[in-house]
Symmetry: C2
């Protein structure tokens, strides 16, 4: 059984206390767990499994996801409790976990059923609306919590009830004539079932996950029709009766059920659902290779995942790793539709969706070691995931706009009614080191693939012998990464080190250097690197070993959108970090930087700044730009829409220095909520056929 899940492997890593991620995990331990526990209590979620009526239930569907809010917190708490921490604080968290487990156990029906909403608010309506009402989604999160709980507490107090619940669902859903031919409207249970199978070997869990994935989108699943259609008809719904998130009737693409997954050509619908679904699909491929008699049987699903990944990254992803341009269905728009803000036509980029991007990238890396997945995993992590939480761990962002606007200033909040993101961040930071590296052990041969760089130590047990690999680095601010390997001489360790797609060659032409230099006989040339596992360089581990990237790799660079996006803007990036400007550094801004432009030939200046919250340094970037002073352009100009070319030559502009900070760092220092990532571009140069460059 392959148990390479971040949730299973994270405990093999210890972060260096002064490292970038250790500081953030310490803040979660210190502030976030407790803050979120208090909110769970004050909002009624904590006591919900006591099955009493709560005023929130008066408002129909408001408490639909409470099971999952509690489960995600509980899951995260168990990850952090696994490591040494403040004793007094841990006692509080530990007590809460135990009390919650007791309550959850007591809320289970004799037949195994376990769900708040259908026990307290709508009893008697079990499994009548798996499309909209998150019943199986909640079950999935409870299973994930149970796995985390068992891992830490070494008991089955939460896992046993979930295994009982699994049996009920396994009996209810499936291909049999008496069974429901349905699948979760919000995927999550599928990925949880596969992890449950990997931990316990329970074949019902695998079977059910496989059924949910392969049956999904079947247009003739029930009586020759779509399951969701028949399910809705049974509820007495009419075709015109539909959820608010569906723009039109029969929008099954909202939950990626408009056609079978194998036939889906583009990534559509609710972005969190899409990511959770594909995480399960890609993981099913991996598990199927062990389980099925024909190990290639489900490989067609890998092709589907690759196709949908490529569509997403190339045509539907923001530079920040955010996905989902459309507010109404919290999801994907058409190809290349990537406006930066609500007042430009959209931008949602939910924090949970980027967590989903990381999850999917991690599963894809298990199938194919390729930088195309790790690069995006790192991009999402450092920008839209990390940026979803404030430096002090107490405030959050649900949406990750690339620009603010008057109706949506850039401001963080304590919590949300639909509270998926905050506890999702907690549990993700809990297992973060599980995303950093993966390892395989065959006899005395060990391969460690390093996807993310940070100062930390991985400890492996190789046939009873201890192998440790330590990284030291200043990442994400710069390289090198120095590796210290401690392994018995009988063990052969190969290290695959990721070469980021944004790395730039040294002056001598190599894209990276490994020292001692004899480790690097062919040099770090791009050509060579493309013939290996794409985006990784592979070395026999020696200690110490230093991986370096050129200074240019960590210099600010400018990103351009694909021209089909109609986003004629420049975005500043540095290493894995996307940058933005905020009014707190640029107090002259009045219009969310809408009328501020920069040139792609602008010179950057870097300043090292100090953040007192985490006592760390970060790089601020200063870029000269132009600020339009004439406000006529934003008032009515005349009798016609738009204006004539040449008009803007008469508008005065002021030269300004625009100060940029890392996108994740926004919303931490007060201000008026003016923020922008992409700035209008002033220049353009093109190369002519037959040579020569055209400049207007």
């Amino acid at each position: 059984m392959d148990s390479s899940y971040p949730q299973e492997t994270f405990h093999r890593t210890t972060f260096e206390p002064s490292s970038f991620w250790a500081k953030r995990r310490a803040i979660v331990r210190k502030n976030t767990l407790r803050t979120q526990l208090n909110i769970l209590k004050s909002t009624g979620r904590y006591d919900a499994f006591r099955l009493k009526w709560h005023p929130a239930y008066d408002d129909g569907h408001k408490a639909l996801f409470w099971d999952s809010d509690v489960a995600k917190w509980l899951e995260g708490a168990c990850y952090f409790l696994a490591e040494e921490g403040d004793e007094e604080e841990d006692a509080v968290i530990d007590h809460a976990v135990k009390e919650l487990v007791d309550m959850i156990r007591s809320a289970q029906w004799k037949d195994g059923y376990l769900n708040l909403f259908f026990t307290v608010v709508k009893p008697g309506q079990r499994f009548t609306n798996v499309r909209d009402l998150h019943e199986l989604y909640n079950a999935g999160h409870l299973i994930e919590a149970a796995l985390s709980h068992q891992q830490h507490y070494k008991n089955n107090l939460l896992l046993d009830p979930m295994l009982q619940y699994l049996e009920l669902i396994h009996e209810k859903f499936g291909p049999g004539p008496e069974q429901l031919h349905g699948y979760p409207g919000h995927p999550e249970m599928e990925l949880a079932l596969l992890r449950l199978y990997a931990r316990t070997g329970n074949r019902h869990a695998y079977e059910l996950a496989k059924y949910f994935v392969t049956e999904r989108g079947n247009s003739h699943g029930v009586q020759g029709k779509h399951f969701y259609l028949i399910e809705a008809q049974k509820r007495g719904e009419r075709p015109s009766d539909r959820p608010d998130s569906w723009p039109t009737a029969d929008s099954y693409w909202y939950e990626q059920a408009h056609k079978p997954i194998l036939e889906q050509e583009t990534i559509e619908g609710h972005s969190v659902r899409a990511m959770y679904l594909l995480t399960a699909v890609s993981d099913l491929v991996r598990q199927s290779r062990i389980v099925e008699t024909d190990p290639t049987q489900l490989d067609v699903y890998k092709t589907a995942c690759e196709r949908l990944w490529d569509n997403m990254v190339n045509k539907k992803m923001y530079f920040t790793g955010g996905i989902g341009a459309i507010d109404q269905w919290e999801g994907f728009g058409i190809d290349y539709f990537l406006p930066q803000s609500t007042d430009e036509g959209g931008c949602y980029a939910e924090t949970c969706a980027s967590i989903g991007v990381m999850m999917l990238a991690e599963r894809m890396l298990q199938l194919d070691l390729s930088g195309k997945y790790a690069d995006i995993m790192e991009l999402a992590l450092y920008n839209t995931v990390l940026g979803g939480m404030s430096q002090n761990g107490k405030e959050f962002l649900y949406e990750n706009h690339l620009a603010s606007c008057p109706a949506r200033p850039s401001k963080r909040e304590d919590w949300f009614d639909c509270a998926c993101c905050p506890p999702n961040l907690t549990r993700t930071l809990g297992i973060l080191s599980g995303y950093m590296w993966s390892s395989t052990i065959q006899g005395n041969d060990v391969t460690i693939s390093v996807h993310l760089y940070s100062s930390a130590t991985l400890t492996l047990d190789v046939g009873g012998q201890k192998v440790t690999l330590k990284q030291e680095t200043n990442w994400p601010w710069g390289s090198p990464v120095t590796f210290f390997l401690d392994a018995p001489s009988s063990v052969n360790v190969t290290i695959n080190m990721r070469i980021p797609g944004w790395a730039k060659p040294f002056e001598h032409g190599m894209l990276w250097e490994v020292t001692p230099s004899h480790l690097n006989p062919f040099g770090g040339f791009q050509k060579h690197y493309l013939t290996m596992s794409p985006g990784y360089t592979s070395k026999l581990g020696k200690s110490p070993m230093m991986l370096s990237f050129s200074p240019a790799s960590f210099a600010p660079r400018m990103l351009l959108h694909h021209p089909a996006t109609n986003q004629n803007t420049l975005t500043i990036a540095r290493g894995p970090l996307i940058y933005c400007a905020e009014d707190v550094d640029n107090n002259w801004v009045q219009d969310h930087f809408k009328t501020v432009s920069i040139s792609s030939s602008a010179k950057f200046e870097e300043i090292i700044e100090q953040d007192d919250i985490l006592d760390e340094r970060y790089v601020k970037i200063i870029v000269p730009g132009l600020r339009r002073l004439d406000t006529r352009l934003y008032a009515a100009i005349g009798y016609f829409p738009g204006y004539e070319a040449g008009y803007e030559d008469y508008l005065e502009n002021q030269e300004v220095d625009i100060k940029f900070i890392p996108y994740f760092y926004r919303g931490n220092r007060g201000g008026r909520g003016h923020m922008r990532v992409g700035f209008r571009r002033l220049d353009q140069a093109v190369k002519l056929l037959g040579g020569g460059t055209w400049r207007p």
Copy 2:
């Protein structure tokens, strides 16, 4: 009673047979009336008033608007029959009109009710869904048809039934406790009622129109709630039960009923409904000044119309005079959201909506003589209205995209299931001269305001004396406009001539010239012109009198979008005409001109071309541009969304000559359906504070 409606005044004008508009009206007379009659017959619409079942009725709501399709054709036919034409052809049309009137009369219920759908398809459901089912909309179009019929046939065979129907509706709707406090979901009846009042003096018509306008959007109209909510509840609908055009529940903004008109700050929803509604609102203001004891009582509605007009023109209108960026609700998006094509995120710009823009502009001109209305009326007429019909009068466009895309090539069609646009064009061209000029007569003082220029003669009866004003011009291709006035010496004629907003000064600084020059003592300076009725110059009529604009006024010019649109494109215009490029003139194009760029400093070349369909000449414009040859930019570039600045410098471009034709002329000469209005802009220059120009 003021009867200045285009429908009433058009017959005072005779077009010069060789003029731009006479040729098009002749085509409608020759081809369109007969073609559309044949389609009315073949689709079942013609015989529908015989009240037999038709297979189209099987499909629920498909035939909801059939009354209006017939009515609009009938209305248009009567306008054209009023003028001399081909005898044989006219006999066919005349016979059809008479037969239709007989059938309509025979379809009326004894109590006056008259509607196909609720007589044949859903009897017994009268007035149970005025929000969605077009019952009152159809009534409005039948009233307009009756007015046109009475005008031509001088009998009341169609008007009498409509007056009887009016009494039924007037009894049914109103403020009384037994009455329905509702109003049409699709406005139209309101504007028809006001014209009916103006023609007949029927106070019930005025009262009902006023009620519909003033009650609209009342949030507590019935039992403390919105009328549409109560109406839907009576039908047994749930909040989640909604039309496909509503993106979310309770989207009353779709029909401009989300709040009272006086409280609406921005123009929202279905664009045809919005235009028909505001046409009625502005006309109600005019009529109220005659009817009401306090003639200023409804002037607040004028302010509302002005506010919504300005929002529309400045923030929600395409350069073509098209409105409505959003496909789903055939209407307005957020401010400045004006993508050019479906694959850029939207573009609808329905032909009927631009006809509505003309109607509203005409009513606003009745309230305030201002070029701001006439300019937009002309813009819509020459581009999105005229462009809705092919040169031969047999093919149509429902949507007026500014760029084609693979899923929506630029192709015309014979007809549409929802057939509002084709007969709407017929009737609009029928009364076109009614939009050209308006006149007021007080004793022997006559004022003629000329809004549109074309070779035509207006004949007025001034106290029994005949006054004629003739225009001769090559408009829209150039000026001058020469006026010949024939009036008895006892009559004083003042002529207000429109100065288009796009006019550019002569070299000597004047914006226009009137000769003989003694008529022009202060010169045509902009300053002077702004102190008069804005956008008009006023002269005591002499004959001949010549109004000239500079050659620069009719040279091609480039239009820029407001920067908040994110449309970094240049659009070619010339006089009132917007230009586009088609593959039929540019056979190298493969990608709908997506990768073709131009510079605002590009030099234009004009070529006179011949159109054989109408035997007329038009101006083609050639603009040098760059075509990107490298297709990598449209494939996946790497591991990341977008790419790094500098990359595009390596892409090769080819210099091309792009041939542009008037937008209205597109889709007349075959081709593959590649078309575009706005081309990506290559250059930009800005002025710095303190002087100097910054060029990258």
